[in-house]
């Protein structure tokens, strides 16, 4: 079923990255873009992946800032935790009370934390050459883009597999989901933990960038095992 979906035939991510590589000024970014990404025909089972999760002070990338970043490089077969990385950052903007309770990161922890600019080389090295996997790309993508833009004067957009949108395809856009909606049933939750529950994945303490990145990586493994296969080309999964 997923194979016959008529998606836009890849947004031309490899071409976009190659184009940016030639035009960006900052060496960090040209290095990042030059590494490119696997092509749309690469089977997911062969692609180097990296689960990415950021915790922020709010939802608006123009007003809020990144508090922490979790990166978990992995493949469809294994998620080696020793390669995971995690940073707590000094937010560019004020830490709000709600974000404190949500992410369990307090002002004192953040006080001595570095600015994103200080760790950006490490973050980009972790992302480089790998396909990012996130749950709800509309947070990670604009926040990374604007945070990098604020520090380096140039933005960063990259291809992402969004595990939430993979869930949405099944639970929001399928004929069955439309039928449910027509019956007036509440939509199935496609939040991270609710999605994991459906695949028998254990509950994790959410809202910690590292744990959520791991949770996202596991969710992708489960989604592919249940609904796709190791041979599914990236072009059908990324957005």
């Amino acid at each position: 079923m997923a194979l016959r979906r008529s998606r836009a035939p890849a947004p031309g991510w490899p071409e976009y990255l190659a184009d940016r590589a030639g035009r960006v000024q900052h060496p960090l970014l040209s290095d990042y873009f030059a590494a490119g990404c696997p092509g749309p025909d690469t089977p997911i089972g062969e692609a180097p992946l990296v689960a990415l999760d950021i915790e922020t002070t709010g939802l608006d990338s123009r007003r809020h800032a990144i508090v922490s970043i979790g990166l978990v490089p992995f493949t469809l077969a294994r998620i080696p935790l020793r390669e995971a990385q995690y940073w707590v950052l000094k937010p560019y903007r004020e830490l709000t009370a709600t974000s404190v309770t949500l992410h369990r990161i307090t002002h004192s922890e953040v006080k001595d934390a570095p600015d994103l600019a200080d760790v950006l080389p490490e973050v980009l090295a972790g992302l480089k050459g790998r396909l990012a996997v996130v749950h709800y790309r509309h947070i990670e993508r604009p926040f990374i883009d604007s945070a990098v833009f604020n520090r380096l004067g140039e933005g960063l957009l990259c291809p992402m597999i969004d595990t939430m949108s993979l869930e949405a395809r099944l639970h929001r856009q399928s004929p069955w989901a439309r039928f449910r909606r027509w019956l007036g049933r509440p939509p199935v939750s496609i939040r991270l933990q609710a999605s994991r529950d459906r695949y028998g994945l254990p509950p994790y303490q959410g809202h910690h960038a590292l744990v959520d990145a791991l949770a996202t990586a596991e969710l992708l493994q489960a989604q592919v095992a249940n609904r796709f296969s190791a041979e599914t080309p990236l072009g059908e999964l990324w957005s």
Binding site: Q85, Y86, W87, G200, L201, P202, L210, L214, A222, N226
Partner: protein
């Protein structure tokens, strides 16, 4: 920034063997984990694949099968797999599949090997050196040593203490007011004083002696003035005991020194005084006390009133950390004492027996392996000058009194009617010898059943030599009859152990799940049956299973090391059964032989599984060891 996997560390820390790890070690292990998701019915390890990781089930369930497809194990959350192959540096021997959608944590071989080298408990758990079963039994023993009742358990309050300058009269008044019968006398510390402590105001004191009621009495008798300081009255030396000594030691100390009060010290400071009556009250629950109480009863009703004390004694022994043999033999001794006393009382009423007899016990009582849940198996062996016409009325009346009396004391009637009240089991010695010979030489299903009950036999009362002759007959004839041994061996395979546990279920070999398990029927009884067959084969005259195992160990009937394994399995299964009976009593239920998987700890589950495995292997060997003789072999006999 240092990455910390709290989520993973906390999960692993809940399950053995990781539960014994420090947080630092768990963090180290967690940081090396590799995670993978497996959909239900997908392969995790396939036969002959190279293996470089230990598997740990984070969620879901997996299934391990033998190469021939037989179920080997089902594992759930917190279980690990693959360590057998890792230890032996082999390829995968038993393939592993996901039974449900499962999340697996893989721990790299390098970490696994390091844990085996550095953590002895971990190594034991994965059976690097010693089998886990043996370790568990040893561990139980160690705990037992620590659980021996300490004398401090008897203390209820802090002792009364007075300065040496206090007058006799004042001291007597204080002792009365305090409701005590003794007082410790304090002095300013001398050099080298043995018992010195500081009070709440940091003043140092020396305990120089103890003054008891009898000291006051003798002071009065001697005509000492009421204003004599107690320091002048108190004896020259003080006998005391450390609080972590056993109650038994305290009792011996009192007997040796002929004293009734014993100060109890924690290091150099006093914490209390035990009186002889405290010890007697405590010992009331001992089996020794119960037995002497049984013999002092003058009626069957009096004996029946002691039934609750049997439970009390049982619980006390288990709490004191007795092993299965101590408990089994104490309960058997108690049951014997009830029986003997009932026989004595019956004889008092019915008059002396017209011919000599021996009252014999079978089953667990004969083996000295009784637990709380037991019924009576007994019989009467009469002298050969027994004349049914003239004498049987007497013995029927005798048998009935004893059976009824035992039932009133909590020993249920035998549902199979294996009791002396049944005329078939109230026969002269020559008839019994005939029974036994027939059962051995021509085993039928019914006779085999009798053999498995009656061939655990022991004299309880009367002319013991009758029963000894029967024991001799069995020991000399059973080893000769291959057909009998083969038939007994097959009979011993009727009851089999389960494979193990899976979540809150008992897992059977065919993969079915049950909610509870009768640990007697599925564990101790088939094990006892199996030991009996070997014991009969080697002509052992022992009745107790552990003693039988020792006899078997002197022969070449079993492969090396098997005797030890059977011993550990029997000990562990019996004690588990006993512990669950205590839990039943403490939760005010009727004790039974059933245990529910949810009430078994994680480590006990693993050990029980090992014990079941030992039993299962021994059963397989039994069939092979005692084959049915060919027809020509039978004719030769």
């Amino acid at each position: 920034m240092e990455v910390e996997w709290l989520e993973i560390r906390q999960h692993m820390g809940r399950f053995p063997p990781f539960e014994a790890f420090s947080d630092e070690l768990l963090d180290e292990v967690a940081a090396q984990v590799e995670v993978a998701y497996y959909r239900a019915d997908s392969d995790i390890f396939v036969s002959d694949q190279e293996i470089d990781v230990l598997g740990y089930v984070r969620s879901g369930a997996i299934e391990v099968r033998r190469r021939n497809g037989d179920l080997y194990d089902r594992l759930g959350e917190g279980d690990m797999f693959g360590h057998f192959s890792l230890l032996r540096r082999q390829r995968v021997r038993f393939p592993v599949r996901a039974l449900e959608d499962s999340l697996i944590y893989f721990i790299p071989d390098a970490i696994f090997q390091r844990l085996c080298e550095e953590d002895e408990q971990f190594a034991d758990f994965v059976e690097v050196e010693r089998p886990r079963l043996e370790t568990a039994v040893k561990h139980q023993k160690q705990q037992n040593d620590m659980m021996v009742t300490r004398v401090r358990k008897l203390l209820t309050r802090y002792p009364l203490m007075l300065e040496a300058a206090t007058t006799l009269q004042e001291a007597a008044a204080q002792v009365t007011e305090f409701g005590a019968s003794a007082v410790l006398v304090l002095d300013t510390p001398e050099e080298k004083a043995r018992y010195v402590f500081r009070d709440s105001e940091e003043r140092a004191w020396q305990v120089s002696g103890i003054l008891t009621d009898s000291d006051f009495r003798s002071a009065v008798a001697k005509g000492q003035a009421p204003d004599t300081p107690i320091g002048d009255v108190v004896g020259p030396w003080l006998v005391a005991i450390q609080s972590d000594e056993s109650v038994h030691e305290a009792m011996l100390t009192m007997l040796r020194n002929n004293i009734h009060h014993l100060p109890v010290m924690h290091r150099r400071g006093p914490v209390g005084i035990v009186h002889l009556s405290d010890i007697i009250r405590y010992e009331t629950h001992s089996s020794l006390y119960l037995v002497s109480n049984i013999y002092s009863q003058s009626s069957a009703e009096g004996l029946a009133r002691l039934a609750p004390d049997v439970k009390g004694t049982f619980v006390r022994m288990v709490e004191d950390g007795a092993d299965s043999r101590m408990i089994g033999s104490a309960l058997s001794t108690i049951a014997r004492s009830f029986t003997r006393r009932l026989l004595e009382l019956a004889e008092e009423e019915l008059g002396p027996p017209p011919v000599e007899y021996c009252y014999m016990a079978m089953g667990s009582m004969a083996r000295n392996e009784q637990t709380l849940v037991t019924d009576q198996d007994n019989a009467l062996v009469l002298a050969d000058d027994f004349d049914p016409e003239r004498h049987d009325d007497y013995f029927l009346a005798l048998a009935k009194r004893v059976s009824d009396g035992l039932a009133a004391c909590g020993y249920a009637y035998c549902t199979g009617d294996i009791m002396a009240t049944n005329p078939r089991w109230r026969q002269p010695l020559s008839v019994w010898k005939g029974y036994f010979r027939d059962w051995i030489q021509d085993p039928t299903p019914e006779r085999l059943l009798h053999s498995s009950i009656f061939f655990d036999l022991d004299a309880v009362y009367g002319e013991n030599s009758f029963v000894e002759q029967l024991q001799d007959l069995v020991a000399s004839q059973a080893p000769q009859s291959k057909l009998f041994l083969a038939a007994m061996a097959r009979n011993a395979l009727n009851r089999t152990p389960p494979l193990g546990f899976f979540r809150t279920f008992v897992m059977e070999k065919d993969g079915k799940h049950n909610n509870s398990i009768n640990l007697k029927r599925r564990g101790t009884a088939p094990l006892t049956d199996l030991i009996r067959v070997h014991a009969l084969a080697c002509g052992s005259r022992s009745q107790n299973s552990f003693e039988r195992l020792s006899d078997i160990g002197h022969t070449r009937l079993l492969p090396d090391g098997v005797e030890e394994k059977l011993r550990h399995a029997l000990e562990f299964l019996t004690l588990t059964r006993i512990h669950h009976q205590v839990i039943d009593i403490q939760t005010e239920g009727e004790p039974d032989n059933n245990i529910e998987p949810e009430s078994i700890s994680d480590s006990d589950r693993h050990t029980l599984k090992d014990a079941f495995q030992v039993l299962s292997n021994a059963q397989k060997f039994l069939k092979f060891r005692y084959p049915i003789p060919s027809a020509s072999e039978r004719r030769r006999r």
